[in-house]
Each structure stands twice: as C-alpha cells, then as structure tokens.
C-alpha cells in the first residue's frame, strides 16, 4: 500500500477541518476526491504535502509504510510526493530553470545522486515542456510570474513531469481552465500514469474526470469521506448534485 490515511483529524487556528478521514491508495491507482466547497479537500491535500499551518490533532498518515507526518515538506517531496497547487505561487526573480534545476538536484542529492548534467537537464526540460505543450521559453521567466491561469496549471503538471513523483495530489487542477487547457493538463497527467505511481485528483466538477478517468471516487463532506465508489459515482453526483449526499447523511 502506498498511502494509508487513518482517522485523520486536522485543524487550522483551532478550527477543525478534517474530522476523521480514512483513505487507502495503492500504486497504479487514480483516486478522485470530490465534494462541495469548504469541505476540507484542499486541507487534505495540504496535510499530505506537509503544510505546517495545519495541525494534525488525531490519526495517522502512512506513506510507503512510514509515518508521513513526522517528516518535513521537502523530504516528503524527495520521497515522491507532489502537490499540484490550486493557486500556484508567483515567485518574482526566481527563474523557472533555476527553480527546477535546484529542485531536481536536491531530490537527486537526497537519493545520493550527483547533480544532473547540464545537457541532460535541458533535454529533460524540453521533453517535458512538449508534453504539456508549453511553448514559451522558461529560462528567463520567473516562477509563475505573469503566467495566465492556464499557463500556471500547465506549469504545475510540467513540474510534476520533471520531478516524476510516486504520489501526486492535484488540487483543483481543473479550476479556471478552458477546455483546451483542460485537455492538455489531463493528457499530461495521463501520460505520467504508470503502475508505479498513483494520483489523487481533487475536483469540484465531474468534467475533469472525463479526461482523467479515476479508479475510485470519494466524496468528502464536512471533513469526512462519506461515500466511495467507482467512476460512475462521479456521474451520479453530477446529475444529482451534492444535495443528494447531504440528504443521504442527514
């Protein structure tokens, strides 16, 4: 088992957001987590990635059998966890190339590898750029600065491709995308799917799941996963709305 979340409770500023989440993800699987706004989807993603503002008050998260909550953000990334941000952060003055090179090399260092040779790095950049149809030169562009909404999301998938993670958590990667960008982003994710990795796709709408077909769909509601099923659950949700879930619980 790649990821095992047991009775996870997490809060921010004393307010409990996650109230007992249970989730199991195996290699080779794609899980979709759906649910209405403010229900804890992004919090769950943040807790997996290690954002420190969230306090885990109860429960555990095991990743590759190890307690994930004990290790800092960057070590989680080096262990293969990738978070695709809902709102990618702009970092003026840090070029994409430098950012990616530093990230790739730090991850290599973590695994006892030498820094990537320059030529190889540039080839890798070009290859992955093509995959997500980024045509702009990234060398002189600061991270996400002046990127359009679609470019920012493509850039997240580009970074995912560069870092080749084992577990990707994509937080509302579809929000703010037009249909073309959505297709490109989804194609990127699909190309990266393998038997050796897993993806958790967090989304509000069923639309993305037409392109990234999940093995499992979970509904997160008021801090708990209240319903799980196959991909047909997403369609059912789409037609019946979240009210249907709320009614089912109450």
């Amino acid at each position: 088992m790649l990821l095992k979340i047991k009775n996870l409770h997490a809060s921010i500023n004393g307010k409990e957001i996650l109230k007992g989440v249970n989730l199991e993800v195996n290699k080779g699987e794609v899980h979709a987590i759906m649910g209405p706004n403010g229900t804890g989807k992004s919090t769950l993603a943040s807790v997996i990635a290690g954002r420190e503002v969230f306090e885990v008050t109860k429960g555990e998260v095991l990743y590759k059998g190890k307690n994930l909550l004990d290790i800092p953000v960057e070590a989680r990334a080096c262990e293969g966890i990738f978070l695709g941000f809902q709102y990618p952060v702009e970092i003026p003055g840090v070029s994409m190339t430098n950012f990616m090179r530093t990230a790739v090399n730090e991850q290599r260092k973590y695994h006892g590898l030498d820094p990537i040779p320059s030529g190889e790095f540039l080839r890798l950049m070009e290859e992955k750029k093509k995959m997500v149809e980024i045509t702009a030169k990234l060398t002189n562009r600061s991270v996400n600065e002046g990127f359009s909404g679609g470019e920012k999301k493509k850039n997240e998938i580009f970074q995912m491709a560069m870092l080749n993670p084992t577990l990707s958590v994509l937080d509302e990667t579809d929000s703010g995308l037009d249909i073309d960008a959505l297709r490109i982003v989804a194609n990127g994710v699909n190309k990266l799917r393998s038997k050796e990795n897993a993806t958790i796709v967090i989304t509000h709408y069923q639309r993305l799941l037409d392109y990234i077909v999940p093995d499992f769909v979970h509904v997160l509601f008021e801090g708990r996963i209240v319903k799980s099923g196959g991909k047909e659950l997403a369609l059912e949700l789409e037609s019946k709305g979240y009210e249907w879930i709320k009614d089912g619980i109450s």
């Binding site: 960057e74 080096c78 941000f85 990618p88 952060v89 970092i91 840090v94 530093t102 730090e106």
Partner: protein, 470 residues
Amino acid sequence: MKNNLNSFPLSDKFIHDFGVYQADIKRYDNEKIALCRDQAFEHFLKIGLPTRNLEDWKNTDLSEVYNESYNHFYHEFEKVEDIDKVFQCNVPHLNTIMLAMLNGRYVSKDEQLKVLPNGVIYGSFEAALQQYPDLVAKHYAKYADYTKNGFTAINTAMAQDGFFIYVPDGIEVKKPVQIVNVIHHEHNICIQTRNLIVLGKNAKLTLIHCDDSYNHQKSLSNTISEIVLGENASLDHYKMQNVNNDSTLINFAYFHMDANARLCSNGLSLNGGILKNNNYVKMNGEGSECNIYGLYLMDRKQHIDNLVYVEHLKPHCTSNELFKGIIDDSASAVFNGHVIVSKDAQKTNAFQSNKNILLTDKAKVNTKPFLEIYADDVKCSHGATVGQLDTEAMFYIRSRGISEHNAQMLLMYAFADEVIQKISIEALKHRLEDMVKKRLRGELSVCEQCVLHCSNPEKEYSFEIDLTKI
C-alpha cells in the same frame, strides 16, 4: 574656541588638529579654497557633529564613534611597497582604469595626475589642487553645503586628498574608471577624503567606487564627493561597500545636474559596521533624469542609513529611487528618501520605493519615503514595505524538494536581484551576483573575497549552476 553644541572626543580632536595642522592642510590651496576652509571650520565650530537630535540622523547612533579615539588625522604621503599587489582587481573581464586610494590618499606608481590626449584628467585631488587650482576652486564646496552638517563642514576644512576626474565637453570615457579605496592601517584611523568629478557637456563616464578594508582595526571614513554633470552629460556610478565590522563609513555624494543630464547611481552595501550614505541630487536643468538604486545586506549588529535627497528645480525631470534591503540578526537599516518638487518643476516624474525583508525579530528597519511637492502638474509616488519572506512561496519551493535553507536563499536572492539587474556592466553584474549569493550564504569574507583581490586568487564560479551547489 568653544564648541557649545556638542563636544565629543572626535570633534575636539578635529578642532585641535585643524589648529595644529592648518598650514600644512592649506599648503596647496589658492586663496579661494583657503578661505572656504576657514569658513567651513567656523561652521563646524557652530554646528558640531550631527547627533540624533537632527531629523536626518535620528535613527543612527554615532556616539560610540564620536567617543572613540582615532589616530592619524593628518599624515604625510605614505610609500606603498607594491601597488600592483595591493590593488589588483580580479573581476573577470572587467577592464577598467584603476585608481587606488590607501587610507584616504591617492597612490600611484607614476604621476599623481594623468592628462590624456583627449583632455581627460584623472588622479589625485591634492595634485589637482596644485596643478589646476582654478578648476578645483570653481567647484570646491559649491555643491557640498557645509552649513548643513558637521561632517561636510569638517571635511571641507580639513580634507587633503581624494580622487579627481575631469572629462571635457563631448568626451566619452570608454573604459570604466574604478576607484579602489582601501583602509589598511595598524592603528584605529580616521580619514577624510575629498573627491571631485566634473563632466562637461555631452561627456560620458562610468565610475566604479569600491570601499574595502584590509585588517580588523577600527576606522572612520568621512568622504565627500562633489559630482557635476554638465548639460547632456551621462554618469553611471557604482558604489561597492564591503568593509569590516568595525568600520564606519560616512559618505556624502553631492550630484549637480544640468539640463538633459543622466545619472544612474547604484549603491551595493555588503558589509560594514556603520554605513551612512547620503546622496544629494540637485536637478538644475530641464529634462534630466536620475536613477538612484541601493541594495543592502546587513547582519550581526551592522547598521546602514541611506539618505536620498532629490531636488527637482526645473520642469521635465525624472527621478527614480529603488532601495532594497535584507536585515538579519540584530542589524538595523534606515531609509530616508526626500524628494522636493519646486514650484517651477512642472511635469516632474518622481518615484521612491524602499523594500525590506527582516529575517529575525530583532532586526529593525526605519523607513521614511517622503515627497514635498509645490508644483501641480507632476507624477509622483512613494512606498515602503517591511516584511518577512513570503510563507506561501516558501511552502511552494519546499514542496518541490528544496530545503528550507535553500528556499530562503532562493527568495532572498530573488529579492536582491532586482537591484543587481540594474547594473549595466555585465562583468560587474556577474561578480555582484556572485558576491551577493556568497554574502547571503554567509561565505563572503571581507578580507578575502571582495571586488578587490587581496592575496588568494579566488575560484571562478559558474553562475548558472551556482544555486544548486548550496
């Protein structure tokens, strides 16, 4: 004589030394300059050294400096054994005309003043006093108002040497002129340096001014530079400060700009105990433009105080200030930006920006961007920020596997980069990029790795892969 305002060992020593040495100090003066010195001295007696009671000095405490006993106010020309070895700049591909100053004295292997076939004159200020008394007297103390502060007054009275550069009308000095100003003495010393730079009409000059210190003795440097830009003249002025933690640098640069002149000044303060930089810019002709930039990286107990005072006297001028600083440990920084737009200076553009990052709870910033506008058709803005490193950006960077320390480095470097990118000499820009990276990583040693090459040849760094090596 009684100094009735404030009396400190330092001001007493100044007064005493002027009494004792004034004949020597004035030995090359013509009447005008000698008179000027006397008047400046009289003002010093009245106003004394600036204290925190004065608005421009209220956040910089110099009392320790004032109570320190410094030696060697006045000294004869010192022999330098091997000038080439002491003054050697190893910035790759930086090809400059190098002028060297040791403890406030101009040093050179050959003549003290050089006159080029195109009329350009450069070298020792004292030699210029002897050889071009009228030219010096025409400008001496014309821009540096000694009635306003004690440092300018006592410097005007006592300073003997410094560097002198004269660029005649229509001449462009192709190679940058680099002044390496080294403080290196066995005693705690105080030096007073006087610089004069005159650019004629349509003249063009690039000046790199480096302040370095060699040893770890305490020192005080009071430097006044008067810089005249004639009509349509252009000056790029870089000031590098990398001195030891016991050094106090008091700098006054007085820029006087005629119509359509262009000034770009970039102050890069990497190290020093107390740094007080005062830039006064008088925009005295229509259509002139000045860009004043500054970057300061302070830590431990270091202190920096940047003052920029820009006077817009004529219409259609633009001034632009950008100062950025990173303050660590219990260091402190002050920014005072004061722009005056006079009644006649319509169509003025004036912008001030000061941004600071504080890395600790004890680091401190006082910033005051200030506009004083008497014209009604102007575009002016000012702003200041003081903050910490962006936590969202930190999380984003770390989430890609980059350690907290290196994420901080990336963000700090990115913050500083905006000012470094303003450097238009590529070789210098690359060196500064390197130095700033090292400074931020805490690897920059004042004595070994500065713009000035001391004894150990430094390895060259590849900038592309630099950050990944950290």
